[in-house]
Structure formats: C-alpha cells, structure tokens
C-alpha cells in the first residue's frame, strides 16, 4: 500500500504541474482502459451514455446498487430512441481578498440528451440541449453516419470540438486557455476513426472568432493511442480569422497505477488576436483520482497558467481538492475546494472557491 501511494505521488511528478478537473469522465475511461465511446454515444465523450455506460453507472460506480433490474432506468424508450440527462445543483462560496465572501445555492445546469437511430449502428441524429437555468440552449445537434466495419464516421451540425481531455470542469485552465470546452461548441463537420487502440478526429468549423461575420474557419484534430493501463494523445487546432490567426497544440496522457488514475495535459497557444499583436500562452494540468473504495473518489488537481510568455512573473496556479461520493446508482455528491493563486495585485486571481454539488443523471 505504501509503495502504491508513493508511486502515485511520484506520478504527480511525472505529470507535473497542474491539475484540474472534473467530474469524472476522463479518469473513468483511464481507470477502465476504455475509449470515451465505450460508455458514451458520442465518440469523443460527454453527454448521453450508451448501454455499457449505464451498466457501468449502475454496477461499478456506486457504493451500493439498490432496486431490482425492473426498478431502474434502462436508457431506451424504444429500440431506436435513447434519452439521457444530467442535473447539477450546487452551493458555492467564493472568497477573494478585499471583498466580502459570496455564497449561494444555484441550479447549475440541466441537460437533456436524445438520440434517434434511423438506421441501427449507421445513421443517427443526436441532440444535447441545456434546458435550465434560463431558457433552452442547444449545445450539440448533429447527424452522424458511421461505417462500423471500418471504424469511420462523419458527423455534421453543431458539436464540441475534439481537443484534449473533455473535463467536466469547464473552468480548468487548459479548457479556458485553449478556448475549447463544453461551453464552446462549434458548427461544421467532423471526421472520426475509432478502433480498439486508436481514436482520431478532425473537425472543420467556423471558429469562435468568426462567430458573427468573419470569413475564416477553424480546423481541430486529435489522435489518441489507448492502452489498457495508459493512453497518450496529441491535439492541434488552427483558426483563421480577421481577428488574427490562432494556433493551439496540446499533448495529454492518462495512466493507471493501482487505485490511482493520473491525468495530464499541456497546451501551448499562439494567438495574433491581441491588441499588441501576437501573444503566446500556455497551460498545464495534472490530476490524480484515487478510488478509495467503491463509490468514493478523491481528486487532487494542480494547474498552471502562463498568460503571456513574453511577460515575467504573471503566472497563475490553481489547486483543487475534491471528494466525489456516489452512494447509489445515478446519484453523485461532490464537495471541493479550489485555491487560485496569481499576482498579488489582482484579487480575482487569488480567490478561493468552496462548493458542494448534487449530481443526478440517467
């Protein structure tokens, strides 16, 4: 046990610097040696879970499985229509130097997913809609045609871009700095290739900078090599825009050592859209997920953000410690603390966040 802990800790050294994240999903994939598509309908992960994902959620994740086989949700309304959803409600407390702390309960988000398979394993239509808070917002909506025999698929519509770890925490530095997260879906087409060991995607979309009028586009892609115990991926993105061109490159990796899963991601950004011209930014994430017992996960993340490589002493870091408890299937409780550190003259860069979250899903 000691040796294992030491090993785990050492891996932190390997994946160094920052961490962050999540709710889980990427670490679960590494834990099981799965691809995202093992549990999710969407080959790049997130959103609607498939049959395997639901079985996993019922039997592997929770501390205790309750109710008989007839008493639980099976994922499908008919053979061709599958529904799912996530609800997250939380209590947060924000503290920053020189300002009174703020705390409140909030309905963070309610998302509903649906997929209709018009032709089994071949042609499907997928929708991911955020229905609360506020009025409905479409996050993903696409048609996907797959060639399961050869591992290819193509999808067109609106979707999240394939780049790096699709963390649940959208405020992770690596997600903010790359500008690619589940808050920034884009419209275009994506071509993907999935085999047992390889997962690769390339997407051509408008690009955020061209959201309104621009004439440019964004090309984003990644390749992931998946092994039972570890995986490594490379990702890149290039945006052409009147606002200035932007290039992003990243490497990300995951490793399982006994009860601990390690995730790391490093990204570099070069962006010409700044008032003074080109700026080079970077961010790092390191995450350790320790499966203490069935249904109990302890997550530690360390993150690093370099807002401008030409300016010294401007770096920011963030540490997070989270406890994730899944008492019964489809219900998760999370509590966490995040400590931001940055230059002393900026209060927001030195804030602290404490939160408790209730997460129900199906």
């Amino acid at each position: 046990m000691r040796v294992k802990v030491a090993m785990a800790l050492s891996a932190v050294a390997v994946w160094l610097c920052a961490t962050q994240t999540a709710r889980a999903e990427p670490y679960l994939a590494v834990q099981g040696g799965y691809e995202c598509s093992t549990c999710h309908v969407n080959p790049t992960g997130g959103g609607l879970r498939n049959d395997f994902g639901l079985v996993y959620a019922q039997n592997v994740l929770p501390a205790q499985t309750i109710g008989g086989p007839d008493a639980v949700w099976g994922g499908k309304l008919t053979e061709f229509l599958r529904l799912g959803g996530d609800l997250r409600a939380n209590w947060t407390r924000n503290e920053a130097p020189k300002s009174p702390s703020q705390q409140k309960f909030a309905l963070d988000q309610v998302r509903l997913y649906g997929q209709i398979s018009m032709i089994r394993d071949r042609l499907s239509l997928y929708v991911d809609e955020q229905v609360a808070p506020n009025s409905a917002q479409n996050l993903e909506a696409y048609v996907r045609y797959s060639d399961p025999a050869h591992g290819w698929y193509v999808k067109g519509g609106k979707f999240y871009l394939p780049f790096g770890w699709r963390l649940q925490d959208q405020t992770a530095f690596v997600r903010e700095v790359t500008g690619i997260s589940m808050t920034t879906p884009d419209q275009g087409v994506e071509l993907g290739y999935e085999t047992l060991r390889w997962s690769a995607q390339v997407a051509v979309t408008n690009g955020a900078a061209n959201a309104q009028s621009g004439s440019g586009h964004q090309v984003t892609g990644q390749v992931v090599f998946v092994q039972p115990r570890w995986r490594v991926g490379l990702a890149a993105s290039q945006t052409q825009a009147d606002a200035g061109n932007r290039r992003v490159a990243g490497v990300f990796a995951g490793l399982r050592t006994g009860p601990i899963v390690w995730l790391g991601e490093a990204d570099l950004v070069s962006d010409e859209g700044y008032p003074e011209g080109k700026r080079k930014l970077g961010s790092l994430l390191g995450e350790a997920d320790w499966n203490l017992a069935k249904g109990h996960n302890l997550k530690l993340t360390a993150e690093y953000y370099e807002p401008d490589r030409n300016v010294g002493e401007d770096q920011q870091t963030r540490w997070s410690l989270l406890y994730e408890y899944t008492p019964i299937q489809f219900l998760e409780l999370r509590a966490g603390y995040r400590r931001y550190r940055g230059i002393p003259q900026n209060d927001a860069q030195n804030r602290r966040l404490t939160f408790i979250e209730l997460h129900g899903y199906f």
Binding site: T171, A209, Q212, G342, I343
Partner: protein, 303 residues
C-alpha cells in the same frame, strides 16, 4: 486463440509495468516533492506588472474604485476579469473584451447567442445582453464571469449606469489617441538633495526608437533669474532602456551642479519624439520659445 494472445499481452504489459514501477519507486518521493514545491512557487510575483498582469506603462490597469465611465469599467472589470477568456481569436462568441476591441464589439453589436438583442443598447440596460449576462438572467448560457464569483452589486450598478447614461466611449477613445508623458522621475518641482544619476520619462505608448535623436530632448540649467536666454545646455545622453520601450533615460555626462533644471522637448519636424504608431509627442505644458517644458526640478548642494 483469442485468450492466448490476451495472455501473452498481459504478461508483456506486466513486465513493462514492473520495470516502470521500479523506476518510479526510486524517483517518486523526490519527484513529488520537487513538483509540488515547484508548482506552489509558480504563481507570478507580479513584479513590474499592473493589476492585469501586463507590464507597467502598457496602458490600463489603473484600478481604483469603479465609476460609471467606460475607462473605469474597462480597467476594473473587462481587462482584469473578462479577458482571461474574452481575448484573442479564441474569445467565446467572438466577443473580445480587451481595451482595444471591447467598445467596438459591444455597443449596438448583436449578441451571438441571442441575435435579437444587442450586447449594449445605449440608454437601455435591461435590453442590453451583456447586462443580462452579468446579472445572470440572460436567456442563454451561464452567468458571467463564467465559473467565477458574480460581479459585486456596486460594479454591476456602475456598468448599468454607464449604459443608462448613453454608453459613451472613454474620453481617450473619443479623441484620437495621443502619445504623451505619463510620469517622470524626478517629478516636477522636486527638490533633489545631492546629485542625480539620470532623469526618467515614462510614456503611455512605446517610443519609436528611430525617432530618438540626441536632440529630441534637452536638459537645461536655468540661471537664478529664470529669464529666457539665460539658460545653459547640460550635456546628457538619451537612451531607450531595452526591457521597457515605454521609457526614456536622460543621463547627464557629469554630475549636476546645484541649481534649477528643466527638460524640454524639441518640436522641430524631424527632431520630435514619436511613438511606434508615428504619433508625435503631445505636451500641454507652456513652452520656452517653441519648445514645451516637460519637467522642472531643483538640485540642492550636498550638505
């Protein structure tokens, strides 16, 4: 067949794993210690930076209590809080909130999320999409700043007030931007005891190195009477410090004698200082002849 190959793969993996494991065990404690200490020390000290983490003198970041004008909102909210995400070509919804772009992308520009609303409608905060986003009742998406604590009530009130007042641009942005002196060391009317190694002038823009001529600025010692014509030129070297192109250094070639001094700009075409956008230096001080005085100070004798 299948299970045999899986078995072989398993053994191979296990061997790989064991050797990796041995290596880690050796380096683990050291590596972990180093990594955590390293990262903990990673946050910037902020030396030489303004509140937004930009080099001093690069504009903005003045801070202070927020007031209902655009410059104050830019310096207190948009730049320090929002540009973490809303900057560069990756800015969400194409909304860049850095000082150079924010005004033009906000006022009377349709929102991307709800195109029927504009981001800022002068005079109508309730129907300005940005106000809805920071107050957390926009019909689409999350409250801004995303994932951070909501803006304080007085900050939101100031932004609302600015919109109600007609969402005017910053005064500096209304007039064509000018190239001017921000501060000097010594400051005007300082009395210096003993000699002075150099005079430093800080500007609001980067100085165009090509415009720096040994005659762009001159240091004069004024006779006690202070009358025109009764001053003598003090030989000094003019230089642009490499790490900070927003500053100019005037280094006297020999120690300054006690007396009254002034620094003057040369306004003759071809000799005047300009910034990197080729704008000439603007000075509003009264001049001596054609040449405006930038700074006056006194040097007292060593006691």
């Amino acid at each position: 067949m299948q299970s045999a190959s899986t078995g072989v793969r398993g053994v191979k993996l296990f061997n790989e794993y064991s050797s990796m494991r041995a290596a880690w065990c050796r380096f683990a404690p050291l590596g972990f210690l180093g990594a955590s200490l390293g990262l903990a020390a990673c946050a910037g000290k902020g030396t030489g930076l303004d509140a937004n983490g930009r080099p001093l003198g690069s504009g903005g970041g003045v801070g202070g209590a927020i007031t209902a004008d655009f410059q104050s909102i830019q310096d207190n909210v948009f730049t320090p809080v929002c540009t973490v995400c809303h900057a560069g070509a990756g800015a969400p919804q194409g909304l860049r909130l850095d000082a150079a772009n924010s005004f033009n992308l906000l006022v009377n520009v349709p929102s991307t999320e709800v195109p029927s609303l504009v981001r800022i409608r002068p005079g109508d905060p309730d129907n300005s999409y940005l106000i809805q986003k920071i107050e957390g009742h926009a019909s689409v998406g999350a409250q801004m700043p995303f994932g951070g604590p909501p803006l304080a009530a007085d900050v939101i009130a100031a932004i609302r007030q600015w919109v109600s007042d007609g969402a005017q641009p910053a005064t500096a942005q209304a007039a064509p931007a000018v190239f001017k002196v921000l501060s000097t060391a010594p400051a005007t009317d300082d009395l210096l005891i003993g000699s002075l190694p150099q005079v430093m002038l800080a500007f609001n823009q980067e100085v165009d190195a090509a415009s720096v001529d040994q005659q762009s600025l001159r240091l004069e010692r004024v006779a006690a009477t202070g009358e025109a014509g009764s001053s003598e030129l003090v030989l000094a070297k003019l230089s642009l410090p490499a790490p900070n192109p927003h500053a100019l250094l005037l280094t006297p070639l020999s120690p300054l004698q006690p007396g009254h001094y002034r620094v003057l700009a040369h306004t003759a075409p071809g000799l005047e200082l300009a910034d990197i956008n080729s704008r000439p230096l603007t000075l509003n001080s009264s001049g001596v002849g054609d040449d405006p005085v930038i700074l006056e100070f006194d040097v007292a004798g060593d006691q």
